[in-house]
């Protein structure tokens, strides 16, 4: 233990430039997410199984359509919820519990840099998911409406914002164990309530509930865009409302301390 760890410079220490800090954090968080086996199961393996299973089986009845044109947009919506909501809620809750958020708060990164880093990581993982799941769907015969891609991108961004806001809201207000249970339970409920399959396939009583949740709104907006090439303004409005409410509440209630 002899080599010196003396400072390289006697100048006053400074923070790296903000873009460099944010990029470093985004890279670190992305690699952490991609190396997390359980999270990859939820974000890639389970959606891929859902895609193959729902496409090849005749159930549930989806009407007179090419099945994969309905299931592929739903699986992309599921990928958004997995990464932006379940993954971020759980990882942020445990980072808070172990004092990691506090550590970054006193480092040159700071709170806003930490948030920006998370956004980059969520975006990078979503890109990987879209490439893998979209590629699988194309291989299975998916023919998306190319004219609907701008609407799908807008829906994806709105859905990511809404689900990330909801995830951070529970991560910053509940105990880590409670977040773990709730985020997984909610993922299953969201999956059934409009993410994966059209709201119209649900029992009549569940339709209004699913349409008002971010799950149904994102699922319908993605299917509208990629199966029919249409803009689902109502569903996008629902996502916008969830985003505004969750981010406003998270801004007031989020606790950084363990």
């Amino acid at each position: 233990m002899t080599p010196s760890a003396a400072p390289e410079s006697t100048a006053r220490p400074r923070a790296a430039a903000r873009p460099a800090r944010v990029f470093a954090q985004g890279r670190f968080e992305t690699l952490t997410l991609l190396r997390n086996g359980e999270q990859l199961l939820v974000s890639v393996v389970l959606p891929a199984m859902a895609l193959v299973g729902l496409t090849l089986s005749p159930y549930p009845a989806l009407g007179d359509v090419h099945r994969i044109d309905v299931t592929a947009p739903g699986v992309l919506a599921l990928a958004v919820a997995s990464t932006a909501f379940t993954g971020q809620a759980i990882s942020t809750a445990f980072d808070r519990r172990y004092g990691v958020l506090r550590m970054y708060g006193v480092s040159p990164l700071g709170r806003s840099g930490l948030l920006m880093g998370k956004l980059i990581a969520v975006g990078a993982v979503l890109l990987v998911q879209v490439l893998l799941l979209g590629g699988l769907a194309l291989a299975l015969g998916w023919r998306p409406q190319l004219v609907g891609i701008p609407a799908a991108l807008v829906a994806g961004v709105l859905g990511t914002t809404a689900f990330l806001g909801l995830g951070l809201l529970i991560a910053g207000t509940l105990r880590a164990e409670a977040v773990l249970a709730l985020a997984n339970l909610a993922w299953v409920l969201f999956l059934g309530l409009g993410l994966l399959l059209p709201v119209a396939t649900l029992p009549t009583w569940a339709e209004p509930l699913a349409s008002a949740l971010p799950s149904g709104a994102l699922g319908e907006a993605m299917r509208g865009a990629l199966a029919h090439g249409t803009w689902s303004w109502g569903a996008m409005g629902v996502l916008l409302a969830w985003s505004a409410a969750c981010w406003a509440l998270a801004g007031r209630l989020f606790r950084w301390a363990p």
Binding site: A5, A6, P13, V106, S107
Partner: protein
């Protein structure tokens, strides 16, 4: 101007007064230990200095700045080691320290720092698999990686074996000798007598004694003096 200074600091949590008008300072180029029983207000005071809590009264100043909502360049000049870690559980020490170094304009040589602290022997093991003492060393490296002007260390040698403890003490002295202000909260009289230049004794949110170690000892052992100062507080 002292590198670290609190004046009449007050911090309350509902009915509980954690810090009740405390004043002390710590100088650059010196190691200052903060002693006191649990509940003395040490951690609350340090958190005010780290910008994690906002004082209800009085002032906290670090390098002349108010730490509450201080900017990134101020935070780059202040290194913090938390007692309970504060490091991501799944990360590996070397990768984490390289990442933290990237947040600074002119960080230390991470490899040299990890060798110095003996982290190189477990550099690729996830933090959750490390012993408490190994995690302490990573936490210390995280506090020092930016080559800070002020370092806050919370019980840096708790749980370390004698060799590692001696190494950490030497490092604390070196930090002070290169000009840093080193502030250490501890329960160890030995640590204070071996490493500290100055000492602050706190109890029930107040300062019971402050000065050089010899001043505070006043001819007695530090331990006897500490119990005389804090004896009726438990």
């Amino acid at each position: 101007m002292a590198a670290v200074e609190i004046t009449d600091l007050v911090r309350t949590f509902g009915q509980v007064v954690a810090v009740a008008g405390a004043s002390w300072q710590a100088e650059a180029g010196r190691v200052t230990t903060v002693l006191g029983p649990n509940g003395a207000g040490k951690s609350t005071t340090i958190e005010c200095l780290e910008g994690l809590q906002r004082p209800d009264g009085g002032t906290a100043r670090v390098l002349g700045a108010d730490p509450w909502r201080a900017g990134p360049d101020h935070r780059a000049r202040v290194g913090v080691m938390f007692q309970d870690g504060g490091l991501p559980n799944t990360a590996k020490p070397l990768a984490l320290l390289r990442h933290l170094a990237a947040l600074y304009a002119a960080p230390r040589d991470v490899e040299a720092l990890t060798r110095r602290l003996g982290i190189d022997s477990f550099a690729g093991t996830p933090l959750r698999r490390l012993s408490g003492g190994q995690r302490q060393r990573v936490g210390l490296a995280a506090a020092l990686v930016g080559c800070p002007d002020v370092v806050f260390l919370d019980e840096p040698t708790a749980g370390l074996d004698p060799h590692a403890r001696r190494e950490v003490w030497e490092l604390m002295r070196e930090e002070a000798e290169r000009g840093a202000c080193v502030v250490v909260t501890t329960h160890s009289f030995e640590e204070t007598e071996r490493v500290a230049d100055d000492v602050v004794v706190m109890g029930r949110g107040r300062v019971l004694a402050t000065g050089t170690v010899d001043d505070v000892r006043n001819g007695e052992s530090l331990e006897d003096r500490y119990f005389a100062l804090t004896g009726d507080l438990r």
